[in-house]
């Protein structure tokens, strides 16, 4: 996983590409530029952090096609689409393809900066959420099969007695399992446990 938030720029025009890099460099935003969508896809991976600024019209793969490829490969960073001659139809297509924002050239550089900052924040929040989720999933992965069975019953809001009856074990054993679940997941009460389980989703 990439830890530093990076702004990726994909534009076939070297002047525009370098211009965006210079602008972002002047406000201490890390950048990495690519002359084509293919070049970017070569380094792109699922866990990357940051945002992407991409031109719509490029030789080879277009910006919108790149969005489609990213979606197919599960790359979920925010994307700002820029174009020299956009219209409503193109904006709609870009948003449908998963773009976060749509900018027309020549754009106000402050507008670009704001959008990039917003995208980076979004990416950051997404990262935090993902990390929490992964941690939660990790905690649940330590549970034994029997503890998982007990957890499922707890999630169904069953009392210890009912769980013991369902699983054919003593109530005391259920309480031991419940204690171990709380200990392993680091939760103090059932409500925290349920929250963590929801956060972890299907993982684990």
């Amino acid at each position: 996983m990439t830890s530093t938030a990076m702004t990726y720029i994909v534009d076939d025009d070297p002047a525009v590409r370098e211009g965006v890099c210079a602008l972002l460099g002047s406000v201490a935003i890390e950048t990495q530029a690519f002359a084509s969508a293919d070049e970017f896809l070569r380094i792109a991976e699922g866990g990357m952090v940051g945002c992407l600024v991409v031109d719509v019209r490029m030789p080879g793969m277009s910006g919108l096609e790149l969005l489609q490829h990213m979606r197919d490969r599960g790359i979920q960073i925010p994307v700002i689409v820029v174009t020299g001659h956009g219209d409503v139809a193109m904006a709609v297509r870009a948003m449908k393809a998963g773009a976060t924002d749509f900018l027309l050239k020549p754009f106000n550089e402050q507008e670009l900066l704001d959008q990039i900052r917003g995208a980076l924040n979004q990416s950051d929040q997404h990262l935090t959420r993902q990390q929490n989720q992964e941690q939660a999933a990790l905690r649940f992965s330590e549970l034994t099969p029997r503890e998982r069975q007990v957890l499922d019953q707890i999630m169904d809001c069953q009392h210890s007695k009912a769980i013991a009856y369902d699983l054919g074990i003593s109530e005391k054993t259920v309480d031991v399992h419940r204690f171990n679940i709380m200990r392993k997941t680091g939760t103090r009460n059932v409500s925290q446990l349920i929250q963590l389980r929801i956060l972890a989703g299907d993982i684990g």
């Binding site: 002047a15 211009g19 210079a22 602008l23 019209r57 020299g84 050239k105 020549p106 106000n108 550089e109």
Partner: protein, 460 residues
């Protein structure tokens, strides 16, 4: 100089004025063959001499006869009468022949007078010997018979100066055709003039026939056609620019966006006391990008500038480069790669640059669209070359013509009709090219299409 346009009405009006030519001015240029006159005179004299001898012999015979009787007298009278009848018949024959020739000359003159074309005869002394009514009507302000008067006096010094070189060439025995433009009081007139030398058997030029036609109407139509073609070309050019407006906007927006970002970065860096060398580099880039934007605007301005239709010696590579620059982004946006293969030191052709740009624009745009429709990567090549007679421009697309122009009728043929391939807007292209004595066409080429036009090389 005021001139009347010869029409059918004026031909009718002239019929009433025929009496003026009753003396037969055309007959004046009919030269009598002196040898024939001599032969006829000798023959006539011999006949007369023979008749005289016979008469004298008859008289002598009558006088010597001792017994003059009635029968003999009757015989002598018969012979005398026969000789007289013969002389009468010969005289009648001569008179008939002369009268017939005169009538023929009169009929010919009448026919020539009813012609709308001007006809005249000028002798080797540069004097009018004959002119038909149309010729005289053309110079209505003079309203006088030119016959027998010098050309300079009849037409005036100004016109004489214009025609004198041609007159001299015709009198030297050469057929001369030229066009004469007269500045009229209201509208200028154009004349097509032919001088046909009248050469005797010995090679001596006796004079010249003048054939003159008023082509003002035709010239006006030609000029109007040219003006309309220019207007059409202007409209077509503006429409073309409209079509690529989005691409041009993009071409201008790219450097503007770069300039905005570099300048903003420079401001921020300078405000923070950052690396000045870096800022200097950015300023250079800004300068380069402003030139880039200005080049795009310049090429657009050159393309839409009002131009002249008059052909000039032109290097075809120049309009091809202009058009390629204008359409580069149009091609890139359609994933079509554009390449130029222009022959160096191309011989010049006579053509109007703006019209050739329009033709190249239409062809190139069609080629790009055709190539863009292909499943494989689009490729368009612009090629120029010269052969000993013509300069060729070929635009090769790996797309098929009928893919882009589904109205092509014969899809099986290798030779695609230029009309079918080039479509409506390129019909202008063809008239522009043929207007400069060029040829335009289209054919299949290595699975794609090759559209070409050529123009004759300009003589050095």
């Amino acid at each position: 100089m005021r001139m009347a346009i010869v029409s059918n009405d004026s031909v009718k009006a002239r019929a009433g004025r025929r009496a003026k030519f009753s003396e037969g001015t055309l007959a004046r240029i009919v030269r009598v063959d002196t040898r024939q006159v001599f032969r006829l005179t000798v023959l006539f004299s011999l006949w007369m001499l023979l008749a005289l001898i016979l008469l004298l012999a008859a008289q002598k015979w009558i006088a010597s006869s001792p017994d003059l009787d009635n029968a003999l007298l009757q015989q002598k009278a018969f012979w005398g009468g026969a000789i007289l009848l013969l002389a009468l018949a010969m005289s009648f024959g001569l008179a008939f022949s002369i009268a017939r020739q005169h009538s023929l000359a009169m009929a010919l003159e009448q026919a020539i007078n009813t012609l709308p074309m001007q006809f005249a005869y000028i002798d080797d002394q540069r004097c009018y010997r004959f002119n038909n009514l149309a010729h005289q009507d053309s110079w209505a302000d003079l309203n006088q018979d030119f016959s027998g008067r010098p050309v300079r006096e009849s037409l005036g010094d100004e016109i004489y100066r214009q025609i004198e070189p041609y007159l001299e060439r015709a009198l030297a025995g050469e057929r001369v055709d030229f066009e004469l433009r007269l500045s009229g009081e209201s509208v200028p007139s154009d004349l097509s003039v032919s001088y046909l030398p009248d050469i005797a058997d010995g090679g001596q030029v006796k004079g010249l026939y003048v054939l003159c036609d008023d082509i003002s109407k035709r010239k006006r139509v030609e000029r109007r056609d040219k003006e309309q073609l220019l207007e059409f070309a202007e409209l077509s050019r503006l429409a073309s620019v409209g079509e690529v407006a989005a691409e041009i906007a993009h071409q201008i927006n790219q450097p503007l966006a770069a300039i905005a970002m570099f300048s903003s970065a420079a401001q921020r860096t300078l405000a923070d006391g950052g690396d000045q060398d870096k800022v200097r580099g950015w300023l250079e880039t800004i300068n380069g990008q402003s030139k880039r934007a200005s080049d795009v605007i310049g090429s657009l301005r050159r393309f839409v500038r009002p131009g002249k239709l008059e052909p000039v010696a032109l290097d075809l590579n120049a309009p091809l480069r202009e058009v390629a620059a204008l359409l580069t982004h149009h091609a890139t946006a359609r994933q079509v790669s554009l390449s130029l293969e222009l022959e160096d030191r191309l011989p010049p052709v006579m053509a109007a640059g703006i019209l050739i740009e329009q033709v190249a624009f239409n062809l190139l745009r069609a080629a790009i669209h055709s190539a863009a429709d292909q499943a494989t990567a689009g490729q368009v090549t612009i090629r120029s070359r010269a052969d000993p007679e013509r300069v060729w421009v070929e635009i090769i697309s790996n797309g098929t013509a009928w893919g882009a122009y589904p109205d092509a009728e014969d899809r099986q043929s290798d030779e695609v009709s230029a009309d079918a391939c080039l479509g409506f807007s390129e019909a202008i292209s063809r008239s522009i090219i043929t207007g400069f004595d060029g040829q335009a066409g289209c054919r299949c080429h290595e699975g794609g299409t090759l559209c070409f036009f050529n123009l004759p090389r300009c003589e050095p």
